[in-house]
Amino acid sequence: MLRVDDLAGTHAVAAAIAGLARPGDVIVLAGEMGAGKTAFAQGFGRALGVTEPITSPTFTLVHSYPCAGKLTLHHADLYRLDSSSDVDDLALHELAADNGIVLVEWGDVAAASLGDHIEVRLAHPLDTDDPEAAGDIGEFGDTGGREIELSATGSLWAGRWDRLSRAVEAYRC
């Protein structure tokens, strides 16, 4: 479990993960509305050299951003999808296989369709008391702290997990 005090901290953790990410990676972003999934994606994209603004793909399903080299960052959001075939239609693993890194907001609800991945679970400390209040803070320029939990499914990150742990050591709680 990690704890960050401000948006810069979220961006720093995102940058640490981005620094170890490789083409083919799928990274699930979990957490309630306003927990900071898109904020994380912004920090992640900036670390990969994305210069255009990264915005929520809730209504467009997938946004793709060219990065350094021939790498592409794909930012997906499953919030509007109802069935696993909708998720399959996005072919996220194909996007990853084609020299891409894929961030999937709400990806935890369809984790089985995503293959090997790591999950970044974000939560406001407020969530336990009043999720709606936390959501409001998130929607409007949140600068508050949040808790971040990292976990891996499959062996894709096994060789990188130690380095990842060291890279985020400063935020461990």
């Binding site: 069935s83 696993s84 399959d88 072919a91 693993h93 296989a97 084609d98 609800v109």
Partner: protein
């Protein structure tokens, strides 16, 4: 009768036109995977070089997969849109049929194998019969190991074709009478040839009846309740 064929089920983009006189023109690009950018100009170019107007086309043939979703949805959407706009019928052909077709003169079992990513492949099996090939094993998706087990269980002389066979050459060639040869991607010329045979039998479909073959896990509702149950 002129048939326009559209093939985007793998990383290749293919366009062909032909009819009673056989295949007149083909266009295939297997690099870049920029299906959406390449396909429409490719159709325009192919027809122009063959000196054929779009209005002369009487049927749209399309590769319905199995294959990569990212390419297939581009090809199917374009093919359906053209058929709707031109008010002409369609014919859908399996990507695996297209890969096997050029190998129809062998007496070995022909096994088209398409790379499905994530360590999985699509495959099926064909055997020579008078007048062409007959499918002897239905299309399947699974790990490469499952394909190898399937091949071993048959213990027959096998000819594997397709980008999946190329990619997993070492695994597939391990331990039985197997050769890897033939086309890496579904040949779009074969699409027009096979569609022509069906057109002669008037086995047409309406655009709304053409469905992609995904061969993926059965559909399930996303369980959105999981997130409320979490602490």
């Amino acid at each position: 009768m002129l048939i326009l064929g559209i093939e985007t089920a793998t990383q290749q983009v293919g366009v062909a036109v032909g009819g009673h006189e056989g295949v007149i023109a083909t266009f295939e690009v297997a690099r870049g995977r920029r299906h959406a950018e390449i396909l429409t100009p490719a159709i325009e170019f192919t027809l122009k070089q063959a000196d054929i107007e779009l209005a002369e086309i009487s049927c749209i043939a399309v590769d319905v997969g199995p294959g990569l979703f990212t390419g297939m949805r581009v090809g199917l959407a374009a093919a359906k849109a053209l058929a709707q706009a031109l008010r002409i019928p369609m014919i859908g052909i399996s990507s695996l049929d297209l890969l096997a077709f050029p190998c129809r003169h062998t007496d070995r079992v022909v096994v088209p194998v398409i790379d499905a990513r994530k360590g999985e492949v699509f495959w099926s099996m064909y055997r020579q019969v008078p007048g062409g090939l007959q499918q002897v094993a239905a299309p399947t998706v699974g790990p490469v190991d499952d394909l190898v087990a399937d091949l071993l269980a048959r213990s027959q002389d096998v000819l594997c074709v397709g980008d999946g066979a190329e990619r997993y050459r070492d695994e597939i060639l391990d331990g039985y009478r197997c050769e890897i040869s033939g086309p890496a991607y579904p040949p779009v010329g074969a699409l027009v040839q096979l569609a022509h045979a069906r057109a002669l039998r008037e086995e047409y479909l309406r655009p709304g009846e053409i469905e992609p073959v995904y061969l993926r896990a059965p559909d399930a509702q996303i369980n959105w309740s999981v997130r409320e149950e979490r602490p």
